[in-house]
């Protein structure tokens, strides 16, 4: 075999590498093409004037507020739920676990429709009439986002708690901590990076939530107009420049969130 010849094994290795790299290049180019198409569709001046328009600023503000509230509520609820599923054995755990996964796989529109149906039942009407109005109102946006993202938060946090060796908690107990105290002093500090990453991901998901929101609260400008609804309304009125500007806002938010997660998960404790 001369120096320029390669063995069969090396050739196969090259073919495999070429195949995977080609797939990678195809997908990357696919997304870059879509982004470039949007850039080509608008210009800087139109983009800036659209972004600072009253309606888009309202959508940004409403999305930021509702997504943040929905994230806080879902994380506060998801932490004990995820801990219970991860660390506790109880009858019917598989069924509960599957039930909590359903919102991840069910279409958000279906979830929104289910919420709408619920508020047409006697208990739902009772809540609407006596506690708080959700249908076609801003609290409904938070509820729709919460319904979609809470299951995701539970799933992410459960995998974080699964990764924490129970012996840390056991040592904490022998060092004088009650079960509750050990959760706050040992488990949560160990889960810190996972909790932060879950917050960012669920928040980003809430920012982009459309299906459940539009079904429950409708698409009313200057009332229930979140960023995704703003895109929907812009396209419905053939205002593509505005849609592109709002899409860029969502892309920037997603990119920053993903970058932050990469930074945080890169500093995970070796547990």
């Amino acid at each position: 075999m001369s120096v320029f010849q390669v063995s069969k094994g090396v050739r196969k290795e090259r073919v495999f590498k070429m195949a995977t790299m080609s797939a990678l290049a195809f997908l990357t180019l696919f997304f870059i093409t879509i982004l470039l198409a949007m850039v080509a569709y608008t210009d800087g001046d139109t983009m800036i004037s659209t972004l600072i328009s009253e309606e888009v600023l309202f959508a940004i503000k409403l999305s930021l507020i509702t997504a943040t509230i929905a994230t806080i509520i879902s994380i506060v609820v998801a932490i004990p739920v995820a801990y219970a599923i991860s660390k506790t054995e109880f009858p019917g755990k598989d069924i509960v676990d599957t039930l909590l996964d359903l919102p991840i796989v069910i279409s958000p529109i279906a979830l929104g429709a289910a919420l709408l149906v619920f508020f047409n039942t006697p208990p739902g009407r009772g809540i609407e009439n006596h506690i708080m109005r959700f249908v076609f109102e801003v609290p409904g946006i938070v509820l729709a986002q919460f319904t979609v993202i809470s299951a995701l938060a539970v799933r992410l946090l459960k995998s974080t708690f699964d990764g924490i060796d129970t012996r840390y908690e056991q040592v904490g107990r022998t060092l004088g901590c009650s079960k509750l105290r050990v959760f706050f002093r040992v488990t949560l500090p160990l889960a810190r990076n996972g909790v932060i990453a879950s917050c960012i991901l669920t928040w980003a998901k809430a920012m982009g939530e459309f299906g459940a929101t539009v079904t429950l609260v409708g698409a009313t400008p200057f009332k229930t107009e979140t960023l995704p609804i703003a895109i929907f309304l812009s396209l419905a009125t053939a205002n593509v420049e505005k849609a592109v500007a709002v899409i860029f806002v969502l892309i920037i938010i997603a990119a920053v969130a993903l970058l932050a997660i990469r930074r945080i998960t890169g500093r995970r404790y070796p547990i």
């Binding site: 056991q170 040592v171 022998t174 060092l175 004088g176 002093r185 500090p189 404790y269």
Partner: protein, 356 residues
């Protein structure tokens, strides 16, 4: 003092069967047993990490069976130490003190004195993830001792360390135990480790405590076949005479074999040596002929990776053991002459009732 009464527990893969054991106030007790014997469960039961349905655990005169782990006053050092990665060394040691709301000055002083005792005062600001195995062990020990526990529970504390560090830390564990005098339960599968640190040893097999006694008693008088198999059936020689020939050195005669060994106590009645601690050669080794003997091979058993060779020396038959591949490279056959070298430091002595 720890008292375990009729403790039985079944955790599926591991179980304990009717364990009865008392560990004295200043005693260093080692539970020795093979992997899967249930050693860790005993420690976890004492620490309160399993709900006990049958039996009782008493700590310092109080029934601790139904107490939560935080109410038991135990210091627990798990295998691999499990230091909190989000705290530095000083904060790890101070963890228990802070939970118990010790005043800040007292906490600082306690951390300082414990780190001095463990020889880790230069590590206090270090991230625990950057420590060596030996350093982690000391930090875990300091953390467990910070609340002045009534019982110290050590779960295979030396198993993840290299041989040199492990040997050194055995001495350190004894020193720390002597200084603090806290009742200590240490579990291990390493027989040498157990003999070096223990006041008494308990042999645990398949969840059952087979024998409890001083290391010499267990070693020279195994109560049943399980214990005998586990400790490895040593060569035991009866000594006809024993005389001191210098400071800390004695000479014993065992049926025609004159053996010199380190010894400080009274008259030696028996000596023992494991087959693995006797070297065998087909040629006469050079050097002084102390503890070296010529004999005749009477039997060879070769199974698995090990070869066992029986050699008749004077009136004794000694078993030696060596890796099979080395044995196959040597010219050793039944009936041929062979030369034995006894490992001086591995010879164990028994003085009867007054043994140490």
């Amino acid at each position: 003092m720890i008292e375990i009464r009729n403790l039985s527990i079944d955790l599926g893969e591991f179980s304990l069967k009717n364990i009865n054991l008392t560990i004295g106030d200043r005693e260093y007790f080692v539970i020795l047993g093979p992997t899967g014997a249930g050693k860790t469960i005993i420690i976890e039961c004492i620490a309160g990490l399993h709900r006990i349905k049958q039996g009782e655990i008493w700590i310092d005169g109080n029934n601790a069976t139904r107490l939560a782990p935080e109410e038991r006053c135990t210091g627990y050092v798990p295998q691999d130490y499990v230091l909190f990665p989000f705290l530095n060394v000083a904060d790890n040691i101070a963890f228990g003190l802070r939970q118990a709301k010790y005043p800040k000055t007292q906490t600082v002083e306690k951390v300082k004195s414990l780190s001095n005792l463990m020889g880790i005062s230069h590590l206090l600001n270090r991230d625990t993830r950057s420590l060596s195995g030996g350093e982690k062990q000391r930090v875990a020990l300091a953390r467990a001792l910070a609340l002045s526990p009534k019982v110290l529970l050590l779960d295979e504390p030396l198993s993840s360390l290299d041989l040199q560090t492990s040997k050194y830390l055995r001495m350190e564990l004894r020193r720390i135990h002597k200084e603090l005098g806290v009742a200590t339960l240490h579990i291990t599968h390493n027989q040498m480790e157990a003999e070096e640190v223990a006041d008494r040893i308990g042999i645990l097999n398949m969840g059952k405590l087979e024998q409890v006694g001083k290391p010499d008693e267990v070693f020279f008088h195994p109560e049943n076949e399980i214990v005998s198999d586990f400790i490895g059936a040593p060569n035991i020689l009866n000594c006809d005479s024993c005389r001191t020939i210098g400071h800390g050195i004695a000479e014993v005669t065992c049926d025609g074999m004159c053996i010199i060994l380190p010894h400080d106590g009274g008259r030696i009645q028996k000596i023992a040596l494991f087959p693995r601690d006797i070297y065998i050669s087909d040629v006469q080794p050079p050097g002084p002929q102390v503890n070296r003997f010529k004999g005749t091979i009477t039997n060879i058993k070769s199974s698995g990776a090990t070869a066992r060779i029986e050699v008749r020396v004077s009136g004794n038959t000694l078993q030696t053991e060596m890796p099979r591949d080395i044995f196959e490279d040597m010219d050793l056959t039944v009936g041929k002459e062979a030369f034995l070298i006894l490992k001086l430091r591995r010879i164990r002595t028994f003085e009867g009732k007054n043994s140490q």
